[in-house]
């Protein structure tokens, strides 16, 4: 893989300054549940779409991570968005289409996408944001 590695290194060097910026800032942290339940329910396409969106929209202060089973397998794929002070919003039954809306509205616009949160799925009205 020698030839292409050189090409990757070039792409990389261009990006390096942005990366430093990313680690310096306190932006959103997005976590996708990636246990057997999440994977079977379609977490991988959600994860890949999220990565694509973060790259395409150049969201340098957003970090994407994975976790194991979040505990509500029937609501998978689950995506958790943590804000700067660790407040958490949980999105459930996610799809690649829905994650695009979350990126645009929540990660870029700062506005929670209420209809994808747990409040609607359980039929109860609770604050979608759980304070740290």
């Amino acid at each position: 893989m020698a030839k292409s590695l050189a090409e990757l290194k070039a792409i990389r060097e261009k990006k390096l300054n942005e990366i430093n910026l990313r680690h310096g800032k306190n932006g959103y942290r997005v976590v996708v549940g990636m246990a057997t339940c999440g994977i079977a329910a379609g977490a991988r396409p959600v994860m890949v779409k999220l990565m694509e969106e973060v790259a395409a929209k150049n969201l340098v202060d957003v970090t994407v991570a994975q976790t194991g089973c979040i505990g509500s397998c029937r609501l998978e794929p689950i995506v958790e968005v943590y804000g700067a002070n660790n407040d958490k919003v949980t999105y459930v039954h996610m799809t690649p289409e829905k994650i695009v809306k979350v990126v645009d509205q929540h990660l870029i616009g700062g506005k929670i996408v209420d209809e994808f949160t747990m409040t609607i799925v359980d039929g109860k009205i609770v604050d979608p944001e759980i304070k740290a």
Binding site: L5, E7, L8, M34, T36, A40, R44, V48, A55, V64
Partner: protein
């Protein structure tokens, strides 16, 4: 699981939870021998001898949040349904090897699926751990090794969108190439 690659993604998560530093994934496909074989080998903490006997039992798991563990049992069922075999060997403190084989033309065999997306998702969850992925298709082989990339870029984690995008394309192109019709 709709794709075999999702089983692979799932089982490598076990390796990461077992603190593996290196995971080796080997896929061998042979049309002549009608075989598709998947091997996942790690250097994680391993499974104690008294636990391995019924490890693929869905009601056996090491986690404490609940009493079911489906990953290995689903993979075992998938391979045995397709006339293949499932095997797991482990040495406590050394590592674990999981193998599943399939009759390639079996009507119930799920497609291998999107390996490029699976590899990218694996790399995202691996952090410091490394992946060697070798795919042999009718004796043509493709190899991907995260250690090589980390060395070239002088980084310890590949979890950056531009690197991940490159990896995805690299795997996609590499696999396309070995699967080309002669």
């Amino acid at each position: 699981m709709k794709e075999l690659s999702l089983h692979i993604l799932d089982i490598t998560q076990n390796s990461i939870r077992a603190q593996a530093k290196l995971v080796k994934l080997t896929i061998i496909e042979s049309l002549a021998a009608n075989v598709l074989a998947i091997m996942i080998e790690d250097d994680g903490c391993g499974i104690p001898a008294d636990k391995i006997q019924n490890i693929a039992d869905p009601f056996v798991t090491s986690r404490t949040t609940r009493r079911v563990g489906l990953g290995l049992s689903l993979f075992k069922a998938a391979s045995e349904t397709c006339g293949g075999f499932f095997r797991i060997t482990s040495e406590f403190g050394v590592g674990t090897k999981v193998t599943g084989t399939f009759n390639r033309d079996h009507i119930d065999r799920a497609p291998l699926g999107n390996m490029a997306d699976t590899v990218v998702t694996m790399v995202m969850s691996f952090e410091e751990a490394d992946l060697i992925y070798e795919h042999d298709y009718n004796n043509q082989s493709f190899i991907f090794d995260t250690r090589e990339i980390k060395e070239t870029l002088e980084v310890t984690s590949l979890n950056e969108p531009d690197i991940l995008n490159w990896i995805r394309e690299f795997v996609r192109e590499g696999l396309e190439k070995i699967m080309e019709e002669e």
